[in-house]
Structure formats: C-alpha cells, structure tokens
C-alpha cells in the first residue's frame, strides 16, 4: 500500500482525512484509486492531459514528481501539496 498525505484543499473530498492509504504501482494508479473512493478528487489535481495542475505539487517521499507515470513501491509515501497560488 501507498501512504498518501492529502492537503487541506482536498479535505472536502476525503471527509477531512489527511492521511490515507491507497493502492497502485504508479502515481496515476494511486490517484485513480483515490478517485474511485472520493469522486472528483483526481481532476482537481491532474488535468485532462494527465499533467499536474500548476499550483499542485506531488512528492514521492522527499523527491518531487511531475509525471504521474512515476512508479511507486509498496510502503512509499505520496505527498500532495497545494503550492503557493496568490492572494
């Protein structure tokens, strides 16, 4: 399983949960798993061309990831952040 950190911007989808577990061998798979459980969540992070939205940030552990095809291993942590986006 992949441990997932969900930012406050998405708590409306997760019922307030910030720490979740999800299944998947790549970031895309994990986001698909989350989207099945929390419909609509993925599209607010990833656009229709599978690009990470400009003000969202993904990390695998401490390593930034911009390609949702990036592989994950069991036990990895996927951190999702809302980056700075203006006032």
């Amino acid at each position: 399983m992949i441990r997932v950190l969900v930012p406050s911007q998405l708590h409306a989808y997760t019922g307030g949960a910030s720490r979740l577990e999800a299944a998947g061998a790549a970031i895309a798979d994990v986001l698909d798993d989350l989207d099945r459980r929390f419909p609509g969540l993925k599209f607010r992070i990833i656009d229709e061309q599978d690009r990470v939205r400009p003000h969202m940030r993904l990390f695998i552990g401490k390593t930034a990831a911009r390609d949702i095809r990036a592989p994950l291993r069991d036990g990895d942590e996927l951190l999702i952040f809302g980056a700075l986006s203006g006032g």
Binding site: Q9, G40, D47, Q49, R53, H55, A83, S85
Partner: protein, 372 residues
C-alpha cells in the same frame, strides 16, 4: 420576486428578496475560497442551480444543486478537452467561465464556455459534459483562439446565446476572435464580426480577432443582437451581418467602453450599459469616478444617463461581464455587482439606485433567479 446569485473570487452568496425588492438578506458563503466565475439558475427548472468553480490550487469543476441551493454535488465529468496525442498543443480547461441553460425545448441541456476558449455541452443538467468538436476541433481553431493570448483572466469563450425560436441557432462570444454563429446546434461556426473594430490589430476591421465582451438578444425581437465590445457598443438586426457602432452616440467624455449590456425583456429598443474608462492605460473604472448606467430607448440612436443614488464623486466601480442583470418584474429591476464587493439595485428601470450589499469579495457574476 427574484433572488440574486452572486459569484465572487472567494465564494458564492445569495441575496434573498424579502419582499418587493425593498429588503434584501445576504446568505452565504457557499464554496468559501473557491473562485466562482458563474452562478446561474435554470429558468426552465428553477430549482436547478449550477456553479462554475475552481481555486487557486485546484482545477476547475462544476457544482450542481437540484433543490435551489439546499444541497450540492459535484459534476461527475466536468468540462474538459479531449485527450491529445501531442502534449505541446494539448489543451486543458483552466476554468469554466460561462454556464448557459439550453433551449426551452431541450430540458436538461446546458452549455459551458471556458478558458482557453472551449465549448461544452451537457444533456443531464450539468452532471456530465462533452467537448463540442464543431468549435473545439474546428480547423480554424488555432487562428480563432491563438495560444498564449487573452485577457488577464485568460483567453475566453465568454458567452453562449441561444435563439429562443430555434434551439439549433446559437451565437458565442470570444475574447480572441469576436462573435460566431451556428445554425446547426454547434456543429459548425462562422464569424459574425463585420463592422466591429479591433483597434489593437494591424487590420482594425478583420473577419475575426475582435474582443466581444458581451452579447444579448432582444427577447421580444431575437433578430436584434446587442454587443458590448472591447471597442465600443454595437447592434445588428439579422439577417443583416454588419454591426453598427451605436456607442458613437454616447457622450464623448464617457465613451462606449464597458464589459456588459442588458436588454429590456419587453422592449426591443431598450438596453442599458455600464460605461468604464477606456482612455490612456484603460483604468476600466467609472469615468471620472462617477458611476452611472446609460439607457437607450431607441435602439442606440441616443443614450440617457441614469445616476440617481450612485455616489456623485470618488466611486471607481468596475462591473465585469457576468455581473449586470435584470429581473422580470414591472417596472424592471436592474442589478450590478462591482469588483469592490458592492451590489447595487434599481427597482425603477435604472432611474434610482441603492447599495444592497457591500464588503463582499471581488464580484465576478450576478444573476437573478426566481425566489425560492
């Protein structure tokens, strides 16, 4: 009796009419912190409300209510472009800008306009949306919507208008190429910009390239189209194809720049504009700091200033495309929402105005809805 649905840069609010437009009660916020570009009720099914939303971080979506705002759910498939093979030219919806209930003969149908310019259609009251290939994949699209160009809010397909006599007859307004017409429910489009200036291009009278801020059909004469353009106020009476710049009759010291125009629902010769300063560096605020609407009752031959109740000085209002509207009452009620968070109302067809809300966030849209 109407309620007013308010979309702002920081959420949505509702102004409830507490009786005869004499008292108003502010409810909200809804979707606090979300950027609400449009908040609209369906005149065919008044309990259906749609909201176009995004946030600074999150991507765009549409929220739906089928009980006049008591409960909300998110669209299962918001407006989105088709997946592209070439990532270099792949388009993604930045935000949905305009939500349009469909023709009276097509219950459940809605249309959406987006940035970058995109046209989308829903047949299930906004639950799922499909890209309209007739515009979005048109061979001329790269010229009608050049990448990288646009307003501070991005390049826009900012409006969709449907002929009340014919569901297949539509117009759209864009910030990148002006007005287009479709006779086949969006399957094909042709520019409709003859006579409209584009004074920011080498050819000031191009076939396309104009910035159409707002268009409106006269409800009792749908062949009449009013347009508030970046370059003035225009009118065309179809089947004519050449627009006339009726804004030339505005006082020169006021000019005819603005974002929006509101037709009278029962008088095809009457419409209102809210002029803004388009001189020098384009302040886009009330000329001279003295807000006023201007009304024509003769199809744009002449304009009359209406500023009763507005501050006489030092009031620098900006009213955006979606933020000037009318109700259906007699006498007609007019409402405008300003970017400084004030809502102004007139219950006497523009003769006198009063502030009915203040200190809201920057107002993007204001729409009248049948009172619950």
């Amino acid at each position: 009796m109407s309620d007013l649905l308010i979309g702002t840069r920081k959420g949505a609010w509702i102004l409830r009419d507490e009786g005869g437009r004499a008292g108003w009660r502010l409810e909200g916020p809804l979707f606090l912190g979300q950027i609400i570009n449009h908040f609209v009720a369906d005149p065919r099914t008044p309990d259906v409300w749609l909201v176009a939303a995004k946030t600074g971080h999150l991507g765009p979506t549409v929220f739906r209510s089928t009980d006049a705002g008591a409960t909300w759910a998110e669209a299962r498939q918001p407006p989105a472009f088709p997946k592209a093979d070439d990532q270099a030219t792949a388009r993604a919806v930045s935000h949905t800008f305009w939500l349009q209930p469909g023709h009276a003969s097509e219950p459940g149908v809605w249309w959406a306009g987006a940035s970058p310019p995109g046209l989308f259609r829903s047949e299930d009251n906004g639950e799922t949306w499909e890209s309209v290939a007739g515009f979005n994949e048109h061979p001329m699209y790269p010229k009608w919507a050049p990448p990288g160009e646009g307003t501070p809010d991005g390049p826009l397909l900012n409006q969709i208008v449907i002929d009340p006599r014919d569901a297949a007859h539509m117009y759209i307004a864009t910030s990148t190429a002006g007005v287009f017409e479709s006779l086949d429910c969006g399957a094909s489009w042709a520019p409709l910009n003859q006579g409209v200036e584009a004074n920011f291009l080498p050819d000031p009278n191009p076939e396309y390239g104009q910035d159409a801020h707002f268009i409106a059909l006269a409800p009792t004469r749908p062949d009449r189209i009013w347009q508030q353009n970046h370059c003035g106020i225009y009118r065309v009476d179809r089947p004519e194809t050449r627009w006339t710049r009726i804004g030339k009759a505005m006082p020169p010291e006021v000019g005819d720049v603005g974002f929006t125009i509101v037709p009278h629902p029962r008088d095809a010769d009457t419409a209102w504009v809210f002029p803004m300063d388009g001189t020098d560096v384009w302040p886009r605020v009330s000329p001279g700091g003295r807000p006023a609407v201007y009304r024509t009752t003769d199809a744009g031959v002449s304009w009359t200033r209406q500023d009763g109740g507005f501050p006489a000085e030092q009031a620098w209002l900006t009213v955006k495309r979606q933020a000037f509207c009318a109700d259906e009452a007699t006498p007609l009620g007019l409402y405008l929402g300003a970017t400084n968070g004030e809502v102004w109302a007139s219950a006497d067809e523009g003769e006198s105005w009063r502030e009915i809300a203040r200190r809201l966030p920057e107002i993007y849209s204001l729409a009248a809805a049948p009172a619950a």
